[in-house]
Symmetry: C2
Subunit: 267 residues, 2 copies
C-alpha cells in the first residue's frame, strides 16, 4: 500500500477483526525473517500484520538512519491502514521502534511485546553494528549463516535450534520479500548505533502493558537489557528468560512464546 | 611441514622433478580456493605446490599484517622444502607477495606468473579491503557468494562462469583445508591496504621473466594495474586481457591460461 508516495510491502494473516498486532522485524530483516511458527501461531487467534518499513525489502523509499524516523514511518503506515488502535510486537531493532511508538502514540498503541531488545542507551547496544558486521564476514568465510552465531547459543541444542529456524525460514516459496539492500542495511546500522549511544530513557513514559521476552544468553542485545526493560517499564510482565537460548530465543521456544503472547494479548 | 615451529599446510601435485611451481593464493583464500582445472592443468606437466601461508587455513601461527612479512614466511617455507630454485604463481594478494619474493630473492626465483594483481601503490588497490568487506556483507544479505560479484562480470557469461567456478571449488570432498579465521582475514586486509598505500615501486628490480594475466574488467584490482605491470616489468609477457572477465579471468579462461602458463614456464 502506498503512503505519501512510499509503497509499504505487508502481509495480513488471521481473523479480520480484533485489535491488529503489528510485527516489527530486526536489523537487516524482511518479511521472510519472521519464524513462520510464530507468525502462524499468533495468527491462529489474532489479526497479524507484518510489514517492511521504508526502504526495507520490497518497500519503497530510502531507509532512515534513526530509530525515531523509523517509528514515524511505521505510524504513518499503521494510520494509512485505517487503524486507531493496535498492538505492537517488536524484535530487536523492531523493539527499539516499538518503544518510540508506544511512548509517542499512547492512544494508538494498546499493548506491546518486546523481544530480544533493550532501551535507548542500553548496555552493549552500541556494539550491535560491529557484532553484526563481524558475524557477517565470519559467516562468509565459514560458509555459515551469521544468524546461527548471532541468534543462538553455541551448544548442541542451540545449534540444532538454529538449523531448524533456517529451514523454517525457507518454507515459504512464493512471493518472498526482497532482500534488504546494502544502503538500507548501512542506514539501519547507523540508527542502531545511535540508539545505543542515546541518553538512557527511564521508560516511565511507556504506560501500556508490556510483555518482555528473550533468551538468557543474548550476545547481540545482552539479556540484561531485557531484565532492565522488565524492571523499569511501569506495567511489564517478563517471560522467564529462555534457557540455553540467545537473541533468537522466542523462535527457539516458539510454542511457549506464542502461547504466552496470546495469553498476554487476550488477558 | 613444520618451519621454525609453524606448521604449513601444503599439497604437492604433478611430477616429482623439475623446477617446482609455488602457488600463492588471494585474500581470504585457502588451498581449496584454487580452481582445480588450473591446478590439475599445470600439474599435468609441472611439479605444483599449493600452501597456506602463516595463520591461513590449516597453517599454524598468526597471519602477519604486511605483504613483506608474508613474503618472508613463504621464503622460509620454500627453503624448508629444500628448494633452491622455484617458479612462483601469485593471484591477487598472492601476486603482491610474489613480487616481493622475486625482488628480494633473485637467485631463488626463476620465473613468475602474476594474475589479477598489481604493483605496490597501484591504482585502486587500497580500496580492495573496503570492496571485499562490502561484497561480503552484500553477499550475506542476498545469500550469494561474494566471489560472484568480486571475480566475475555481471553479464550472462560472467555469471555463468562464476557459478561454474563455485561448483568446481566444491569438487574436492576429502581433506579440505580449514577456512580462514576472522583475525587472519583482518590482518590480510590491513596488509593489502598498506600495499595499496605504499610508494609505487618502479618494478625494475624484478629481473625474472614474468607472465602477466587478468580479465579486462577487474573491479577488485583494476585491470590497468595488469597493464602497468606488463609495461614496467623489465622482462614481461602479457596475455591479452580476457574479454568479459574480471578478477577471476584466469579461472574463467582456465584452458587458455593453463596452456599459456605451461608454454611460458617451459620456454
Amino acid at each position: 500500500m502506498s503512503v505519501d508516495g512510499v509503497d509499504f510491502v505487508h502481509r495480513q494473516l488471521g481473523p479480520e477483526d480484533g485489535v491488529p498486532l503489528i510485527l516489527l522485524i530486526h536489523l537487516a530483516g524482511n518479511l521472510d525473517n519472521w519464524d513462520p511458527r510464530v507468525v502462524d501461531g499468533l495468527a491462529a487467534r489474532r489479526r497479524v500484520i507484518t510489514f517492511g518499513n521504508r526502504g526495507v525489502g520490497g518497500s519503497g523509499g530510502s531507509t532512515p538512519d534513526t530509530i525515531e524516523a523509523m517509528a514515524h514511518d511505521a505510524v504513518r503506515f499503521i494510520r494509512a491502514l485505517g487503524f486507531d488502535q493496535v498492538d505492537l510486537f517488536g524484535l530487536s531493532m523492531g523493539g527499539f521502534i516499538t518503544q518510540v511508538i508506544a511512548e509517542e502514540e499512547p492512544h494508538l498503541v494498546r499493548k506491546v511485546i518486546l523481544a530480544g531488545t533493550g532501551p535507548a542507551g542500553g548496555h552493549g547496544i552500541d556494539k550491535v553494528p560491529a557484532l553484526a558486521v563481524q558475524a557477517t564476514i565470519k559467516g562468509t568465510l565459514t560458509r555459515q549463516d551469521p544468524k546461527l552465531s548471532l541468534f543462538f547459543t553455541d551448544t548442541a541444542s542451540g545449534r540444532r535450534a538454529g538449523r531448524a529456524l533456517l529451514q523454517r525460514l525457507e518454507e515459504r516459496t512464493d512471493n518472498r520479500d526482497r532482500d534488504i539492500s546494502l544502503p538500507s542495511f548501512r542506514a539501519q546500522l547507523k540508527a542502531v548505533r545511535r540508539w545505543g549511544r542515546r541518553t538512557p530513557s527511564d521508560l516511565s513514559a511507556i504506560r501500556q502493558p508490556a510483555l518482555v521476552a528473550n533468551g538468557e544468553n543474548d550476545r547481540m542485545v545482552p539479556s540484561q537489557n531485557t531484565i532492565g526493560l522488565a524492571a523499569r517499564l511501569p506495567r511489564s510482565e517478563l517471560i522467564p528468560l529462555y534457557p540455553d537460548a540467545g537473541h533468537g530465543g522466542i523462535f527457539q521456544y516458539h510454542e511457549d512464546f506464542v502461547a504466552r503472547a496470546l495469553g498476554f494479548l487476550e488477558s
